[in-house]
């Protein structure tokens, strides 16, 4: 079997996403799927999982190969809390269960990618704080947070993500641009991943404001990090 690039999408489906925002997300996802399907490398390696969170957390689609993927329908409650903390817990379980790591007898997956989209802030903040470090310890290739609309809480995303972008409006044009950028990032991941524990993201389009400038995130506990010149004998 071909090596997989697992891509996890955590999508906010709370009441405030109801109506145009969630429809726009669907349009955006549709665009993302069709542009990924034009990329041979993505077609052969990308697996997508969708986890939605509102007052309930649902693993809507477990890791599914891009070529077999079919966009699900989303349901949004009238109102209620945004359980992003619980979503992280569900994600954590899904990653441990489904993402393969290399062993002498098993070829590992590519380092997984995580994209989180929310228009609010975690209502279960204690749980969110509890699960943030655990999700960080899963060492994703990149974690991108998208704060959609003015009410989205960027600061909590910043504790979790190595990139946070924001959308001023929650219309389909904005989401479409965001998901186009996601697919470009995923495609970049599927062709150039390897060797380092980070993914170079393409610059986001103008509709997508970068809150944190993209930087290369290296995991301190990875034995396979790049050489740091500071420590190298030649510099000492």
């Amino acid at each position: 079997m071909s090596r997989r690039l697992p891509v996890f999408l955590l999508l906010d489906t709370s009441g405030s996403m109801r109506g145009e925002p969630i429809e726009s997300v669907k349009v955006g996802l549709t665009t993302m799927l069709s542009s990924l399907r034009r990329d041979p490398s993505a077609l052969e390696s990308v697996y997508i999982s969708i986890i939605t969170f509102d007052r309930e957390v649902k693993e809507l689609i477990p890791l599914t190969p891009l070529d077999a993927f079919q966009l699900p329908d989303f349901t949004t409650p009238d109102s209620g809390p945004t359980h992003l903390g619980e979503a992280l817990e569900t994600l954590h379980g899904a990653v441990l269960r489904d993402v393969k790591r290399s062993t002498p007898t098993q070829k590992g997956d590519w380092r997984p990618l995580l994209f989180i989209l929310t228009d609010g802030k975690p209502s279960d903040s204690a749980r969110f704080k509890e699960w943030t470090p655990k999700v960080c310890a899963l060492t994703f290739g990149t974690v991108v947070g998208c704060a959609a609309g003015i009410k989205a809480d960027k600061s909590s995303l910043e504790t979790l993500c190595d990139h946070v972008v924001s959308l001023d409006t929650m219309d389909s044009a904005s989401f479409e641009q965001f998901f186009k950028w996601v697919s470009a990032s995923v495609a970049a991941g599927s062709t150039s991943m390897g060797a380092t524990s980070s993914v170079h993201l393409p610059p986001p389009p103008p509709e997508v404001n970068t809150v944190i400038r993209p930087f290369r995130f290296s995991w301190p506990h990875s034995a396979y990090s790049d050489v740091s010149e500071k420590n190298h004998p030649i510099k000492q």
Binding site: T30, T76, A195
Partner: protein, 538 residues
């Protein structure tokens, strides 16, 4: 999980229900009111009450669209204008006006004026989603009725499908099967939206019910790969492929080939792999170096090249050390089984590969980076070096490696790997010649040095992960003889009887393996078979 039930006059839906509240609420059991109304209408029975409102939900694939309800019951449909009917109508209008209107809304309200119970039968399609297809690949879905209607399939009298026209797929009505070979224009992925119209038993004269389904046709990734030549203006440009043959009568031949991977060809970027092979006539040593520049490092192609050229030069300088009387004698005694000599050989080879070759090569890359005002990690590369020489006791082979890829000797129907590929926790992750943690861990560093004496050598191989990933996948497989048999059979049959085996090797490297499109580099040493050798000597 199909459900179907018999309705009396109508199916009631909350009038204000909006789109996005779908499945859950609608799969709930109808409220007692609803049931009592149904019963009061026609005494029909609810066979299976949970009824997904939006069976198509799982099939919605591309842009959301408004969903039309099936044709209204026509003039023959005994349309009535009861308040309930108006209710239903309002509902439908709402659905069409919203983006994600549930697809079915296909419970046409037949009045009970005909007093025919079967007349008002309705079935609910399952959530079955048609699988996606692939350009140029046969597509076939059998037992369609059963898949879409499950237990209620027997209630379907006839059905037909619209929307397949340009898909390359047709409905074989008699076989209840979708069949065909979908084709795409210019490899553009496509979403096929179809409408399945069906008549229920005893309702031939009614307008058909409608069920919408969608599936995608994916391009064949094989057709999507582009081959864009690399830009010669780029710094450190190198050819997209390279190959070489060294032959030494009485000893053997060493064939090398290196080819740019599809992932690079698709982007028009340069090959990052490099190799060097050499035969040193005076001493009789053969040398192979394979270096794989990191995909993430901008000038890794140069790093790999430096590793090869500097490695070759430093090896050549070290031949007197290798051929010293002390080491030659130690190898002889090691051949006789002396443990102390084995340690002596090991010690000497550590000095050779770590002090005399490996580390100086690493420093050379640092020097180059410094003078070019770049970072050393921009030149990240793996380094796999192996050298061998014929001795009276067989082939003495020694190797040293940093990073992924493989070195192995196939001999006497046995496979002996001479390295342990450095693999990270995830795919494609490894360490490099230029990684400082490699040089800090001296115990691990010593274990990178391997050697052995081999009789009846079939081949000595050095390869980048562009070859090990598709052919061996894991460290375990790399030591499995059956995997090697498949590999060497392919190589041998390709190289046999060829005047230019290096070109044949290059051709072979075009092999197709999904998801494995890295640069590919392989060096193969084939000793002259003993029999041929005798003939030559004669």
């Amino acid at each position: 999980m199909a459900s179907f039930r018999l309705f009396g006059c109508f199916r009631k839906k909350p009038p204000n229900q909006t789109v996005s509240t779908t499945n859950e609420e609608n799969t709930s059991t109808p409220d007692p009111d609803e049931i009592s109304q149904q019963q009061s209408c026609s005494n029909s029975e609810t066979l299976d009450s949970p009824q997904p409102e939006n069976p198509e939900a799982m099939n919605i694939e591309e842009e959301s669209e408004t969903t039309q309800p099936a044709e209204d019951p026509g003039p023959t449909g005994n349309e009535t204008t009861s308040p309930l009917d108006t209710h239903q109508r309002k509902d439908s209008e709402e659905e069409t006006s919203t983006l994600t209107a549930p697809a079915d809304s296909i419970t046409p309200t037949h009045s009970s004026t005909e007093a025919d119970q079967t007349d008002s039968l309705t079935v609910t399609p399952t959530e079955y989603a048609l699988p996606n297809g692939k350009d140029g690949e046969p597509y076939r879905v059998e037992h369609l009725k059963e898949k879409i209607f499950s237990d209620a399939a027997s209630e379907i009298l006839t059905y037909y499908i619209e929307g397949l026209d340009e898909s390359g797929i047709t409905l074989l009505e008699n076989e209840d099967t979708l069949d065909g070979i979908p084709t795409l224009i210019d490899n553009e992925p496509k979403v096929i939206q179809i409408e399945l119209f069906y008549h229920l038993r005893n309702q031939e004269r009614k307008p058909p019910f409608k069920h919408k389904l969608r599936f995608a046709i994916n391009p064949d990734p094989q057709k999507l790969w582009k081959n864009i030549p690399s830009n010669r203006e780029k710094p450190y440009w190198k050819s997209d492929e390279d190959c070489e043959l060294l032959e030494e009568p009485g000893s053997g031949r060493l064939i090398a080939a290196s080819k740019r991977g599809r992932s690079h060809a698709h982007e028009g970027t340069c090959r990052d792999d490099h190799y060097a092979i050499k035969y040193f006539h005076q001493s009789g040593w053969w040398l192979s170096i394979v270096a794989d520049g990191a995909g993430s490092a901008i000038y890794s192609r140069k790093g790999a090249e430096i590793a090869c050229t500097a490695g070759t030069k430093l090896f050549e300088d070290s031949i007197p050390f290798l051929d010293s009387e002390q080491l030659t004698n130690a190898i002889c005694e090691y051949a006789e089984g002396s443990e102390s000599s084995k340690n002596e050989v090991f010690g000497k080879l550590q000095e050779l590969f770590i002090k005399r070759i490996g580390y100086p090569v690493c420093l050379e890359i640092y020097e180059h980076a410094k003078t070019s005002s770049h970072k050393a990690k921009d030149y990240n590369t793996t380094f796999l070096i192996s050298a061998w020489k014929k001795t009276p006791d067989g082939w003495f082979v020694c190797a040293f490696s940093i990073g992924d890829g493989g070195i192995a000797v196939l001999h006497e129907s046995e496979i002996t790997p001479l390295n342990k590929g450095d693999e990270g926790e995830f795919s494609g992750e490894t360490i490099f010649l230029t990684s400082n943690n490699v040089w800090e861990d001296s115990a691990a560093l010593r274990n990178r040095v391997k050697f052995g004496l081999f009789k009846d050598v079939h081949g000595i191989y050095g390869m980048s992960d562009g070859i090990t990933d598709p052919y061996f996948e894991t460290e375990h497989n790399f030591s499995q003889l059956e995997k090697w048999h498949k590999f060497t059979e392919e190589i041998d049959s390709h190289l046999a009887q060829s005047a230019s085996p290096e070109k044949r090797l290059l051709d072979w490297m075009d092999f197709w393996s999904p998801g494995n499109h890295d640069d590919r580099t392989l060096t193969v040493f084939q000793p002259v078979p003993p029999q041929t050798q005798r003939e030559e000597n004669a």
